[in-house]
Symmetry: C2
Subunit: 201 residues, 2 copies
Amino acid sequence: MSLAHAILTALLEKPSSGLELTRRFDKSIGYFWPATHQQIYRELKKLEEAGHVHVLPARRPERGQKKEYEVLPAGRAELTAWASAGQDPRPVRDALLLRLRAAAVVGGHGLEDELRRHLALHRRQLEEYLAIEERDFAGDGRGDGRGDGGEERDAGEERGGDADARRLRHLVLRGGIGLESFWIAWLTEALEGLPDALRTA
Amino acid sequence: MSLAHAILTALLEKPSSGLELTRRFDKSIGYFWPATHQQIYRELKKLEEAGHVHVLPARRPERGQKKEYEVLPAGRAELTAWASAGQDPRPVRDALLLRLRAAAVVGGHGLEDELRRHLALHRRQLEEYLAIEERDFAGDGRGDGRGDGGEERDAGEERGGDADARRLRHLVLRGGIGLESFWIAWLTEALEGLPDALRTA
DNA sequence: GGATCTTTTGCAACTAGTTGCATAAAGGTC
DNA sequence: GACCTTTATGCAACTAGTTGCAAAAGATCC
């Protein structure tokens, strides 16, 4: 049910239409819970049926016409409960580790290039995160800053989130930064110690 | 298609029945690609249809009777190709980060306990990994060791995997160790900087 | 004023993973 | 020999995520 709650969070930050949500996902919540527009439309429909959101009036809800959604009190209550309820981390599923394990059994050239490619992808993602940190949390200490604004600055629409909210958003971002940093370190180590038999050239 | 390849890898290490695979998954490959017995049975059937594995003879393939599977040359070829082919990392999907982000908007008590619980889970997992490293790779340097044995020591059935294979398995394990270490560090940081408004007591 | 491009919403089919339960054989036990 | 537990295989229904495509409305262009 995580996607529904991701949507509720995004809608509380700012009421939006399906497509706007999709775009906002791409540059904030989507970093750790990506979703396509189809998923979002389907989920919005379910949320509406459940009475957690509703369409703002003054909009003819016809095909091709924008429908702006807003969170209802029931939706907010649901989100609050979900946020602090117990929920186990979902098990790790990483195909690259699996492929390395397979290579230990059957070998496989081209792995070196593949590791380099992943390294580049993770470096790019890290840079993106660091740029956001620089832009929105410049000068704050590690994960406990304060001030104004948020990850996305649409047009001064942020509700000025208080210091706690800001600190939490920074913490989440630090999570992404730490994760990418880990992969970069691990891939670097992997490339150094990669057996010659798996090297590309 | 990752599960199919995980199964091929496990079967190459040692031909097994569905239930044996399930158990072996629980203590090695399943650390980064878990699967239930139902998933494994379904996948074995597909792999058999595709001609990638076959059932060893001298076994009546009846319900309740063990069926021992073995990888065919086509399966090995498929696995080799898959291991070094290009494949993007799947996007991160982490509910805890999402919940923190939600808490930034709606608050939520009980989060502190939840973070502590996750911290304990990750510490336990890290210990498990470190115990495996100690047992199977004691004395090896970071990710480039050599020697005998593998992650699972069933009964001396390991085919003595050469130094390269061993190094790769160690590298994969170091991946797990690094990942757990990252979460432990991040959760510790999170607990230190957690706003009072979200604390439990 | 018709062509076509963009924005927005949406369906349908598919793939992957989860959950709950059913069935069969083998071996122990009383 | 009736009953219980363990080992082993499996079906069916469900939930979640992906992919490909279609359709309505408005804007733009010539």
